[in-house]
Symmetry: C2
Subunit: 412 residues, 2 copies
């Protein structure tokens, strides 16, 4: 599979933007024309998942419908409309010896995708990979195999319609778990591994992969409310960061409050957010300020190291910026952290010293997202530091080569 | 060690360019004032190495002298003179909702360096890491331990003189090999592994590291002489690429010659390069054209997959550009490959289709080097595709964070 993907990727790499965009439109069309087959396969997956007793939220993620397929098709057409980063030339210069030098953006080669039971990811990553001239080898979780194979049929027909090799997008159909580890060692053929799933999947990839892995998507995120914060702004920001979509990685996990405003703010936060179902884990100082409240329980030893992904919020009172920075350095996953302040120097120190992919002043952490940041698409959110950090768009699926043009140049 | 390096790196990250440059000048001064101690330690290492029967070329690499120390000091001052990439802000924009967004270049954190018996690498990587605000944990080979510890003394005194933590640069003194594997799994504290050594070391790192590894430095490099090449230019280019410094990764390994010019070129190449000690491994067609020659032997099955690092050159006749591209795709390590041609379309196809870090037209492969490319310094030469490809300078020791400035912004 690796060899065939690499051979197909060489062809994709020299395919024009025009053809790649036409291919994406064919895929979008195919999701419509093959709708019945996809939904039938999905119904089989869902029946098996229900029989196996899968949780309702997982079953919801797996579920396709005509509307969801239409959304996936629209997303694919949106990727077609984005500028193609491949071929961009930059950092050009003429060296003192007359050599002409520049970098040219090129596809990475082959992307390995390992993901959980979300069939929309299949289409999404295929579209992003093909747009950037990359091949892809995919391995979704076994619960969604039938749906994914029906989608692969659409992808392969679209590739064939444009005289492109079907091997450009391949799916590991065999559900043997050992194959995941095998994929992670195909460094001769696969250039990047993207895990899309929980912390366990990221750790599995990091431990076993000989291919560079984009780890990320795990956010233990903080908002620090400074003494000078505009408290009228603070409540809606905290409410938004915690409740607007609690199950995602850029949602708020821990609220740090300056002791000077804790009395004024914390009861309001509890009052305001508990109405929308939020419960709280408060360390002793915060608990003492709030007093008895049915939504508040004492923070346990692991609570500030937990990504909640649900309507739970950690509360802690700190003596000031220094303690807030220390807490964030110790507990953050370096995803998204925000300071609410009107003090210029504090905002600057927070921006300087918080070592996270996205560092905010006076805004909700929920903006850490490829579409929100104006990248047009999102491959993943990286919390590691090499290659790309934070939301990754199309450009992050490319590398570059150096091009050197001489006229008989030799090194002296 | 990892924890202490990470804590020190947090301090380095907020150290001014002025202080970092002063630190580098102190290191350069220290190499002079501690010259006797360093040379005495080096003499002990050399005596032990000779007693152990190490090869002369390895002993030469290990050997320090007043002149070599002076060179290392001068290199360190050169790094001080380079622009500091940290703090650069780029990709700034105001989003439609009024959020202000930009990226800021920041240090990576902690660099892990694993290298062979070259004490100059200790100073070199320390200088590049400190200039970019990174901590470093180093592990050189045991043969050169005493020299490296004497150099560490210089580094630590310079750090102390500028009130910077000595933990910013640490050396794994224990020669237990298991510690290398342990270093490779410190992903909570180390952000990038740079192996400086042969293919075996790179493979060891790739197989065992849970930290991103910059693999590279292995070049099986090609020159393809096309039918339209200027043959008068070709001989000096081939001579330069093979003989100017045969032991390095950007030297030429295989010469591919278009059959239309093989009769004219190959005997000249053998005549010209054999005078400087080059021997040849020729596949049958090339051998038949050259005829009997004492410097030429038949190419064995592994010869086109060998990085020679010595005065050996593989010779092959190809039917044209297609066969040359196929050969390069199959045998190259994606380091440096060059076409010699006067045919515009062939040059373009070569640039498009050869998937190497550096792709040349009408020039020697020997230019693939940070200094030659105008980067001012070189950390490593990457042949992998993530983060950086080809020569890596100071900028490649940095990452970025996204900075988002709001005025009470919430996501709708």
């Amino acid at each position: 599979m690796g060899q065939r993907a690499k051979a197909a990727a060489r062809i994709l790499a020299r395919t024009s933007t025009e053809t790649k965009n036409a291919l994406l439109h064919s895929i979008a069309d195919g999701l419509k024309t093959h709708q019945d087959a996809i939904l039938a396969a999905n119904a089989q997956d869902l029946a098996a998942a229900r029989a196996a007793g899968l949780r309702a939220n997982l079953i919801d993620r797996m579920t396709l419908s005509p509307a969801r397929l239409q959304g996936m098709a629209a997303d694919t057409r949106n990727v077609a409309a984005l500028p193609d980063p491949v071929g961009e030339e930059f950092d050009g210069r003429i060296l003192p010896n007359g050599l002409r030098l520049h970098k040219r953006r090129t596809p990475l080669g082959v992307i390995g995708l390992i993901y959980e039971a979300r069939p929309n990811v299949t289409v999404d990553i295929a579209a992003l990979s093909l747009k950037t001239g990359n091949g892809a080898i995919m391995r979704g979780s076994s619960e969604i195999r039938r749906s994914n194979m029906a989608i692969m049929q659409v992808l392969h027909e679209a590739l064939a319609a444009h005289n492109l090799p079907q091997d450009a997008v391949q799916y590991i159909e065999d559900t043997d778990r050992a194959l995941v580890k095998h994929l992670l060692t195909l460094d001769a053929y696969v250039d990047m591994i993207i895990p899309r799933g929980g912390a366990g999947l990221h750790e599995l990839c990091r431990q076993n992969s000989t291919i560079p892995v984009i780890t990320g998507g795990i956010g233990i995120n903080h908002i620090f409310v400074d003494a000078s914060a505009n408290l009228a702004q603070a409540i809606p920001i905290i409410h938004n960061a915690k409740t607007q979509r609690p199950s995602v990685c850029n949602a708020l996990d821990t609220l740090l409050v300056h002791e000077a405003v804790a009395d004024a703010l914390l009861p309001q936060v509890v009052e305001n957010l508990s109405k929308d179902g939020v419960t709280f884990r408060a360390e002793p100082k915060a608990a003492a300020i709030i007093g008895q409240h049915e939504a508040v329980s004492p923070a346990g030893p692991q609570d500030f190291d937990t990504e909640w992904l649900s309507l739970v919020l950690g509360l802690k009172v700190v003596s000031g910026l220094d303690e807030a920075l220390e807490h964030i350095a110790r507990h953050a996953t370096h995803h998204s952290d925000s300071i609410l302040t009107d003090t210029w120097a504090h905002a600057q120190r927070f921006l300087d010293e918080v070592d996270s992919a996205a560092v905010y002043v006076n805004a909700s952490t929920r903006f850490t997202d490829g579409a929100q940041f104006g990248l047009g698409a999102e491959v993943a959110i990286s919390t590691q530091k090499l290659h790309a950090r934070g939301p990754m768009g199309l450009q992050e699926l490319t590398t570059y080569k150096w091009i050197i043009l001489g006229e008989g140049h030799v090194r002296s």
